[in-house]
């Protein structure tokens, strides 16, 4: 990450996710170092692209499976062919898991940014 000469300060986050944030936006955000903001944007974009493309590969994997091995796609589990099971039912828990993992990681990126800027 960005070179940072100071030590990391151990502190309470100073931010309670349960508490509603004030309506006003941080206008002094522009005072925060540009480099930190750019690095935050880059890491959030990287995270989003990784999760998004991972999901796309899984999604397009279903027709790929049908194309490569029709017999396997028709393989019946509990009376439902694998293709129907994957696309009709199993894709949903996969999406929720991906979304949950993303939310956690995005929050962590923001936490890291907050720690870096708090030290200034």
């Amino acid at each position: 990450m960005t070179g940072n000469p100071r030590r990391i300060r151990v502190q309470s986050p100073g931010y309670d996710a349960q508490e509603p944030a004030p309506a006003s936006q941080p206008d002094d955000a522009s005072n925060a170092s540009d480099a930190y903001v750019r690095s935050l944007i880059r890491s959030q974009l990287r995270l989003a692209v990784v999760v998004g493309s991972g999901f796309l590969i899984l999604l397009l994997g279903v027709p790929a499976l049908v194309w490569l091995s029709p017999a396997l796609a028709q393989l019946s589990i509990l009376g439902v062919p694998l293709q129907w099971l994957l696309l009709g039912f199993l894709m949903y828990p996969i999406m929720i898991t991906a979304a949950w993992l993303y939310t956690r990681s995005a929050q962590r990126n923001e936490e890291r940014y907050r720690q870096l800027t708090d030290q200034q």
Partner: protein
């Protein structure tokens, strides 16, 4: 066969055994409940800010239910099952795509959109690009998308009212428009949040309860729910990659630009709660789509005759009457009809609110009175279009709207949030290219009397990339027009609150 209709277009002969009385009761109850809850919200909405975004004080669960309620349209409630009935496994792409759009929304748009502090998509365009021209173009697109999307809802209402009561279809369209205009004019967005949250749970109940009864009945009479696997045969696409990729592109990216969905993000208190809301929405949608999928599968066994007629989209409405007789059939049919009307009402009102928000801010001076006038106008235009046109398959025509937003508003939002280089000229050129290509495809596809060619039915694959490319190239050529204070604008989108 039931008496009372010799209506021509969607005749009852296509297998309807539903009692008209049950239909009337369902319609009256849903409309009355929507009106009461909508007008009750009037108490809470006093200032203009209340009207537009519920003062940004809506909790994630409420907000997520409201988004779910708003999003689950005629295409979801009726269209998905109808399409599975007609085309089998290939149709499963629609519910997955409709849901996955929210994953993309979470990844790329939710938190920055909330942090931008804008009320509407045109507000975002102006805040990011500092350009009244970009704002105006975006406003026109939001209005176009809203109107394009309301029309299939009203077609759905026309189909449902004919199937449920035997009345001519236009009465359903007029009824939905009327209820929506009254609730919107009475309470604005705040009341709509209550109404929409209520609608999600109503829709879920309405589609889930009859299915549970149907499954129990099939279990006790020893019939196999999938016809011993017969339901799963056919419609496997035979490696039609173009359709799949194009559809996935439209549904995944199209959700990002839907104005009635994005307007909900302004009512979250901050970025993290916008993410939490989206996560809950994903759960709610996943839960919901299991049911139309099952209806479609059951329809392939117990209502196969509907696949060839004009009533394929009525599978969900007609299925209970295929399994049950008498009172049980009437009660369950009434429930699904109520759910279907909840779907038309909620999506239409969400769209009317967002179109009216843009119309009133940009053309009526932004007052409460202007909002009411705009609400009336934004519902009346699509009503006239819906009455003048014939309905296509619901899931398909909504799919076209997704392709349109994916080719126009989506590139502007994605590049605006994540790319420093976007300029106002670039955004306008890109949206123009998307509008011409995708709008042209939609217009051209209406010229065909039969099914349109695949390239026109699923245009996203050849309209989205040129829109992005045009936006990037034109931005690069006009790099000197990047707004001043770009760093501050981007910091506002991405830097966490309470810093």
């Amino acid at each position: 066969m039931k008496s009372g209709t010799d209506n021509s277009r969607t005749s009852n002969d296509a297998g309807c055994h539903m009692s008209a009385l049950a239909g009337y009761i369902a319609l009256t109850v849903v409309s009355a409940a929507t009106l009461v809850i909508g007008i009750y919200g009037l108490k809470f909405s006093r200032t203009t800010s209340d009207f537009y975004v519920a003062s940004r004080s809506v909790k994630p669960w409420w907000n997520a239910s409201a988004i779910g309620g708003e999003y689950l349209s005629a295409a979801s409630f009726l269209g998905v099952a109808g399409l599975i009935l007609v085309s089998g496994a290939d149709a499963l792409w629609f519910p997955v795509g409709y849901t996955a759009g929210y994953l993309m929304l979470l990844l790329f748009v939710a938190a920055p959109m909330r942090r931008s502090g804008a009320y509407t998509i045109p507000d975002f365009a102006e805040a990011r690009l500092k350009s009244p021209m970009a704002r105006t173009v975006t406003s026109f697109l939001v209005i176009a998308v809203g109107w394009l999307y309301i029309v299939p809802q009203l077609h759905g209402a026309a189909l449902a009212i004919t199937v449920a009561t035997g009345l001519p279809g236009w009465i359903g369209a007029v009824m939905v428009t009327g209820v929506v205009v009254i609730t919107t004019m009475a309470g604005g967005m705040r009341s709509i949040t209550f109404v929409q949250a209520f609608q999600y749970w109503l829709k879920l109940t309405a589609i889930a309860v009859p299915l549970v009864f149907i499954m129990l009945r099939l279990g006790t009479t020893g019939q196999d729910w999938s016809g011993n696997g017969a339901a799963f045969i056919g419609g496997n696409g035979d490696g039609d990659w173009y359709t799949k990729v194009s559809l996935a592109l439209a549904l995944l990216l199209g959700t990002l630009g839907l104005p009635h969905v994005l307007v909900r993000f302004y009512t979250n208190p901050d970025g993290p709660s916008a993410r939490r809301t989206t996560l809950i929405v994903l759960g709610l949608l996943s839960l919901f789509y299991i049911f139309p999928t099952l209806y479609g599968i059951l329809g392939r066994v117990f209502a196969q005759d509907l696949a060839t007629g004009p009533n394929a989209d009525a599978t969900v409405l007609l299925l209970p009457a295929r399994i049950f007789d008498g009172m049980a059939s009437d009660a369950l049919s009434a429930l699904v009809v109520a759910g279907a009307f909840a779907a038309f009402l909620s999506t239409t009102s969400g769209l009317v609110v967002s179109v009216a928000g843009v119309l009133s801010q940009d053309f009526f001076g932004g007052s409460v009175k202007g909002f009411r006038r705009a609400a009336l106008l934004s519902a009346a235009v699509p009503l006239m279009v819906a009455i003048a046109t014939d309905s296509l398959a619901l899931a398909g025509s909504v799919g076209l709207v997704f392709a349109f937003t994916a080719s126009t508003l989506c590139p502007m939002l994605l590049l605006g949030i994540w790319w420093r280089g976007l300029t106002d000229v670039g955004a306008v050129v890109g949206m123009g290219v998307g509008t011409v290509l995708c709008g042209g495809a939609i217009l051209a596809s209406t010229l065909f009397t039969g099914p349109a060619p695949v390239l026109l039915q699923y245009p996203a694959a050849w309209t989205v990339p040129p829109a992005f490319a045009a936006m990037i190239i034109a931005s690069r050529m006009t790099a000197h027009r990047r707004p001043t204070g770009l760093n501050r604008i981007l910091a506002r989108l991405h830097v966490p609150e309470n810093d």
